[in-house]
Subunit: 482 residues, 3 copies
């Protein structure tokens, strides 16, 4: 009994005490937004193996939301060099497949090269490292504050990843500036130029811009016990700045991962915990399979084995579904427990032409909507009843919807898809129309008196729309679009 209590307590510890993430409030008046914009990235940094695009985090709507947005493109065999951030990140894989790793300091290196056969005994070094994860299109990846992340594209299709960095998180004890700490290279961190605009001092000239660059050589030689040549490489000395944060790996990476299964279906995902296979070392070329392994129940889910990704782009069981209107899928901390620390969640939606998302608001979060495909008309309304946005959101643009602001959307394309990043780990949508909406939850007479309606009109308001969040196009529109 006592043991049980102790256990239950320690579980509580595991779950709650580690690193609670709560959000900071925006600065005074930062959220008095009379106009929002659907924004494209405004900066572009080419690298050897790809491209990093950023949105200006000093834009008022991002400052209000306390977030920074960026988009990374990895070409085939491109490696995003390891880095960490001063704030939690949520990454959506818009396109492509590949590998990623998130380093948890202090956790064991659980991926090990197999014992060599005896004739090769002379080779003494056997590599081991922390878990390597496979990602694919439609994945959400959660990266905690200060944990090193790397990504790699082993496929022909370029990987496109959208990343939200939640600088307003209380996990960030620095100021609101998004910071990338690179472990390697000579490139500037992608948000640095915006700091400069903000009046930050001119950077001093320096060999290398990574976290090792600022140490003196002798410190590193002693700390790593390696020769000067290797230290120079670490510090990014003499490296071409153009090489950048994304490097090309000649011949591709060879990574220890479990063998993949050859299957065409994506449902494999739910099954891949059931089998265990011996790890092997091989070159990954163009497989589509999955290769994660993790403990899934509450007891095994420690920091070291925390699951960091979940697919929301193509789930066979979406949370909201109407064949005529579309589908919406959400990921919260109930789906991906690590989001409880990050205090982030996400939503993926896909709308058919002329289908509508009814007016609604986020009770407890700011939201950044990024359009993946097609275009839609969105309207956003503030507390004064003013339209702060009425326009199109097209693929590649992002729109911030602050907490409690009302928003509605109508798809203008055959298939409008989007991902929304939200600054809270639990969904808190309140709908303003349709079944189970806020209006529906009010007594009939309150509705009538509130809106100055006859009781039969109030009844229509409460009952005419039988749909919930998604409304299919009207018959006339369907024909028109057919």
């Amino acid at each position: 009994m006592a043991k049980l209590l102790a256990l239950s307590l320690s579980l509580c510890f595991l779950l709650f005490s580690n690193s609670f993430a709560l959000r900071e409030q925006s600065q005074q008046n930062e959220c008095q937004l009379e106009r929002l914009d659907a924004l494209e990235p405004d900066n572009r940094i080419e690298s050897e193996g790809g491209l990093i695009e950023t949105w200006n985090p000093n834009n008022r709507q991002f400052r209000c939301a306390g977030v920074a947005l960026s988009r990374v493109t990895l070409q085939r065999n491109a490696l995003r060099r390891p880095y960490y951030s001063n704030a939690p990140q949520e990454i959506y894989i818009q396109q492509g497949n590949g590998y990623f790793g998130v380093v948890f300091p202090g956790c064991p290196e659980t991926f090990e090269e197999p014992q060599e056969s005896e004739q090769r005994e002379r080779r003494r070094y056997r590599d081991s490292h922390q878990k390597v994860n496979r990602f694919r299109e439609g994945d959400i990846i959660a990266v905690p504050t200060g944990n090193v992340l790397w990504m790699y594209n082993d496929q022909d299709t370029p990987v496109i990843a959208i990343s939200l960095t939640d600088t307003g998180s209380s996990n960030n004890q620095l100021d609101q500036i998004p910071r990338r700490f690179y472990l390697a290279g000579n490139q500037e961190q992608e948000f640095l130029r915006y700091q400069r605009e903000q009046g930050g001092k001119q950077e001093q000239e320096n060999d290398g811009n990574n976290i090792f660059s600022g140490f003196k050589r002798d410190f590193l030689e002693d700390a790593l016990n390696v020769n000067r040549h290797i230290v120079d490489r670490l510090q990014g000395r003499n490296e071409d700045e153009e090489k950048g944060a994304i490097v090309k790996v000649k011949g591709g990476l060879s990574i220890i991962t479990p063998p993949e299964r050859q299957r065409g279906s994506r449902q494999e995902e739910d099954e891949d915990e059931k089998e265990e296979r011996q790890p092997s070392r091989r070159r990954d070329e163009s497989q589509k399979g999955e290769s994660r392994r993790h403990g899934d129940n509450g007891l095994e889910e420690t920091v070291c084995t925390a699951k960091l990704r979940v697919n929301i782009g193509s789930s066979p069981s979406p949370d909201i579904y109407n064949p005529q209107a579309g589908r919406i899928n959400t990921v919260t901390s109930l789906d991906l427990p690590v989001l409880r620390w990050l205090k982030l969640s996400a939503e993926h939606g896909s709308l058919r032409k002329n289908a509508l998302i009814v007016p609604h608001y986020n009770r407890n979060a700011n939201s950044v909507i990024y359009a993946l495909k097609g275009r839609a008309r969105l309207q956003v309304v503030n507390c004064n009843g003013n339209t702060v946005f009425d326009g199109e959101l097209e693929a590649g643009r992002a729109l911030t919807v602050p907490q409690n602001y009302a928003v509605a959307a109508k798809s203008l394309s055959e298939r409008f898809t989007y991902v929304a990043f939200k600054t809270n780990d639990r969904d808190g949508i309140a709908r303003l129309a349709g079944t189970s909406s806020v209006i529906n939850d009010l007594p009939l007479d309150v509705v009538a008196a509130t809106f100055n309606l006859q009781r039969n009109e109030a009844r229509q308001l409460k009952s005419n729309n039988p749909f919930k969040l998604l409304v299919p196009p009207r018959e006339s529109e369907k024909r028109a679009s057919a």
Copy 2:
């Protein structure tokens, strides 16, 4: 065993992970207050059915405390139209009785009209909605961030309600400006004029000022599947702005609620969970009874059935009581668990003439004291030993006492009553005089050395006042006031 653990875990989840509320800090130097004032409301907005008065939230003592204060008066048959806020609210009912509802999006509509008898079968629509609660004088009502609230006065006595909005709560992810999002009407939200003073942009002219007003008509027609007339009403088009946030309901509201019991006593409160009665639909005229129903134990207490009100104005068992001095009653998250999310608590006090509240301070909260009846002399001292307030607090005025500032009070009326709103969900008072005070908790020799006293003087300091927080008037004063 495993199940038990899982259950216990999920309970932890329920309790802690949902929406933790913590407070933001005040801006730099905001709390260097050398003078506090007992403030009256400085703005007054008349509505058809009542009155909203507000205190300027940009006043420095409210900015330091991170709160906004307002007072609402509802005449008979007046409905405060539904609205939600970007921050949690704590409402004290100074006078009157009535109904209120707080909408929890996603929760079921548990109040249903009964099955009609067969002869009336033609009537197809049966109304259902979320729980309706009865409130009465002395109640504290807790309203979470982003949840829609409505209130209704079905009695002859005007309802007067004092509301504290905790804009400094971390549940508010916008800036510190208090915002009301109205579901209906053409009135400005009550705190808008202060935003303008702060340099916010001039509002654009608009038909309607509610959350529906900013949407285009066709969006709403599609989303609600109703005709243009109803949409116009929703948007508050052509509605007289004078009608306002509080409307008069002709003939009164008809609300589904359990039948009330005819009892004179107020103790019924504690018993009304014991009985179940069949819901019925009726016009509420002037009953005084109670009509809530809710689950009370930890397992049933989910978000959907969370209890939102508790009476502190007239409890038969106050927390502190001295017949000669008065009584003090507190409500914390132990009394009303929903306050754990809101991170708010409250205190109600009633003092006899010349009775004293000894010098004390709030360890972990800011406090806003609102005088309900009579007047008292208060003194407040800051960390430099300066008197930042020494004056009278009379009925209808509010005084902010920042965290850790010391405060004492003496009633100047036969009955001085007040309510104090506190920005933490647990009580954290430290008393500076009387039994069990901070001085009493120190060793005798420490007291003597600290205050430069003889040991027998230190003994007097520790033991002369046998009372705790409330000190009755001295005999001489009693006679004088008799």
Copy 3:
């Protein structure tokens, strides 16, 4: 079963709901630090019994970290008069031994004078007070927000205590200014002059500067039921300002504590819970022993019996130890549960000459390093790869290392010792070199591609340094220093 659940729930309550402490973020751009400095205290206030030195909290590196630092020296028989703060404190005892008390309002007075023998019956007053704790060199003491603290030196060796006040804690609901609320005396609180510099208003002249000074005499006479003379003493009237916050106790304090055991060893610490002895009243002269008593298991550990100190200066079982290099000891909320509320932790390190602390960063905390003995060379690097500090840290100076900034150190003395205060309750170090470092956690090929190295060079990087955080001096250096 139900009981068990209820119990487990209430434990959760105990642990989590009481007063969660999270940190505020720094103001806009506050952490764009291009240069850090190893700072000495810049103000010095002499008192009758000792000395308070402070660092300017408006210094940018402290503003970024959201902390204030001070150093207190108590001479023999000196009492630091009781005070409380608007933010949690972590105190490290650099030198000396003595007594301290932290008052928990509402908790019982558990230290009682014994029943007098019958012949002395005339003496009616028996003193009782809250727990008195013994501290010694190397202790960390945790003081929650708003709790009164006093300290006393009963030994010949002066007590030197370093205190970090975490004004960025969300337990502080006021602004970032560190405030001391003194219960007694006529001295200014030690951080007041920095407020003035910040443009705070000129202080009004006042008799006394303590929390009682601002109340009118008649209020205090009534509240305490004592005569005017005692009230004058309370208010610090006519007291010499020079007397100050630390007073000399003639003849020493007489405090109720359990009798001490005469032992030379310091291991006694771990045993002193096992025995119970009858409390006695005596003059403490120059004992070295221990005299705390507290409940230690989860069930008994309530607020009232929370353990507030732990020794990290001379633990026989350090967390990291290498006889050639040195030792590091940490205290987190796992060692001292009260730190979970304070959201603070600490680290104590001791390095041999030329030993190295490898480059590493704090994932989730700001850190303030205070050098206790000797000197070391430190380097700190920001996200742009710039060296923001490369210099010596010598005994008595403090250096701030912001979250995620990389830092390394090399001892220049035979014995360099330091204490680091961290603004999170759990350790979150990530090492950039050595076994189990971030580089080691990456796959070999990722290391090679990241740093543009041959695979065998990458192997060296991963495996050449067999040490973890501490690296012993090279052989050549050892000889040189021998």
